[in-house]
Symmetry: C2
Subunit: 339 residues, 2 copies
DNA sequence: ATGAAAGCGCTAACAA
DNA sequence: TTGTTAGCGCTTTCAT
């Protein structure tokens, strides 16, 4: 015998012999209700199996208690763990996180329209805002946070990795091992983080008194295949190098495959350092030396920042920079002069 | 000069000199409005920058156009790609997908209460419903779909992999290569899919006239470490085997490491087949032979089923079974008798 | 083709 | 402490 419509606050009220407003006070844990009334209301709620309609509360309060997170996709480990961190943080504050994949600019614009302009969510998280021109589609008056890139002109919060510092650190690690001709396999140059990591690389070289050789830098697209191709072309052009800094682990793994196919050993012939410390990075052959970034924490921090901004609209925006950590495993080693 | 409150349907109405109801008809693309009025309303909408308040529409219609997806976590590639598939399918039908991580039963129960009982969403997707007792916390009257396991008694839709068939196929592959003593490293036995895959394994052995040896099956927990430990203990107990069926790729990779540490070569000394075809499965050493499952499609199908059920409440429930596909790479080879 | 009235289920402001 | 009265911004039903 399914009820056509749900139990409402008024059903509870008449059952308990009070006004619906008193019921509202009880479910909102207001102080201003006597213990006896509260008890009566509570038992009526129990008896009728009443559950507040959250949509009605949102409507009356004008706040959705929901955050949106727009990411290029939901499957890349980096993104997925950012999202998981954000989701957990949001929920701890009584918010939900609605995450959606926006592979291109048009999808992004559509989602902003539906989620933000139509007021389904209170705030917006944008992962990699400077991939294409997506950042342009966000209206000025929405509270939001950028993840993975620092704002250019916009007045928004942001949380990102210290990519320049990490690129510097990775390169320095290789330099300390005695390497001088270090290849850099970058992400797409259009993405801020690729450029930042590359700048760290260049700076470290210069500090070591090395003039960067443009022949040693190759642009990849984060995929293992692109790392593979990069090394292949280097090898074909007989470019000399003894170490590689790959801007992510997937490209590092692809690079290793290309080296192996050319009968080059890692790390004896070529040292290679990756970036991310993806799951199973230590299970590749050889176990990958890499720059670990704590993406889960990045997601938490970003959600925290946004939550704060949503609840205190007058707050100044801020930029958070998280450090990366060098994880030494077996894909890098001391440089040895070859004949 | 931020407006205190947003532009509403009534602002548009008075600007266009019509009733708010006519505006409603226009934004809902009703036929019953004259072209001239429509044009006037449209230009008023444009002029005032009106955007419908989605929460108000949800409230009035009694439908949220949102689905919830509860998953043990958001980062495992299997889950993440199911979710991505579901999200994309949902959005194509004008729905949003709110995905949340429910690592344990309590969190699950809380989320069901908040998302379903308080009517924030129209339907529920549950990944791995028989992990712990979570399935018990879902009220009878909610439309939902199980992912990754077939319903026991509940009347719900489900989409899952043909785990038994896949387990059978994986084992048969090893049998065809001449292996007779085949180890099975399972997932947690409490999960349905582990048991189904194990049943497929047992059945294949029996069909080949082999009496299954209980010493050859070890329970893992899906982690690489557990695969590693499993093989270590087998080796310590001097259990003889020439092949391994690992119920996921991560455990397979862990197993490979343990074998290598014992100076055993894969596949020359021991063949090994994994399960999932996770990203980079072909970049391990050796490239992994595995049973590929199309989790993205699984997510899409599940969302499609749920959407259908939500919009046609009288529909019969159904169970979908997706096939897995054998991907042959280099971690398995012909059995050769050793001294 | 258009409008008036009622209501979705709740919270907020004000009275008593 | 409790109740009354208005909304929140829409859709739906019923007139006209």
């Amino acid at each position: 015998m399914a009820r056509r419509t749900h139990v409402t606050i008024r059903d509870v009220a008449s059952n308990a012999g009070v006004s619906h407003q008193t019921v509202s006070r009880v479910i909102n844990e207001s102080e201003r209700v006597s213990p006896e009334t509260r008890a009566r209301v509570l038992s009526a709620i129990d008896e009728l199996g009443y559950r507040p309609n959250e949509i009605a509360r949102i409507m009356a309060r004008g706040r959705t208690h929901t955050l949106a997170c727009l990411s290029p996709n939901l499957t890349d480990y980096t993104f997925a763990s950012i999202i998981e961190g954000a989701e957990i943080e949001a929920r701890q504050h009584g918010y939900f996180l609605l995450s959606a994949s926006a592979p291109d600019e048009d999808t992004f614009a559509l989602l902003v329209e539906q989620l933000i302009e139509r007021r389904r969510t209170d705030g917006l998280m944008v992962i990699n805002p400077y991939t294409d021109q997506r950042f342009r589609h966000v209206p000025k008056d929405v509270r939001m946070v950028y993840l993975g890139a620092q704002p250019r002109d916009e007045q928004v919060d942001s949380v990102s990795l210290d990519d320049e510092g990490a690129g510097h650190c990775a390169t320095q690690h290789l330099l300390h091992l005695g390497h001088r001709r270090i290849v850099s396999i970058t992400g797409p140059v259009c993405e801020d983080c690729s450029q930042d990591r590359q700048n760290g690389y260049l700076q470290a070289l210069r500090q070591a008194g090395i003039t960067p050789d443009p022949n040693l830098v190759v642009e990849g697209d984060w995929s293992a295949t692109s790392g593979y191709t990069a090394v292949r072309s280097l090898l074909e052009h007989r470019v000399a190098f003894s170490a590689i800094f790959a801007q992510n682990d997937r490209m590092a793994v692809g690079a290793i495959r290309a080296l192996r196919e050319a009968n080059l050993c890692v790390p004896q012939d070529v040292s290679i350092i990756g970036f991310d410390d993806m799951p199973l990075a230590s299970y590749f052959d050889p176990p990958l030396t890499t720059m670990r970034q704590d993406t889960f924490r990045l997601g938490r921090q970003a959600a925290g920042l946004l939550l704060n901004a949503v609840e205190n609209p007058t707050l100044e925006t801020q930029r958070l920079l998280l450090p990366a950590e060098l994880v030494m495993r077996n894909s890098t080693t001391q440089y040895v002069e070859r004949r």
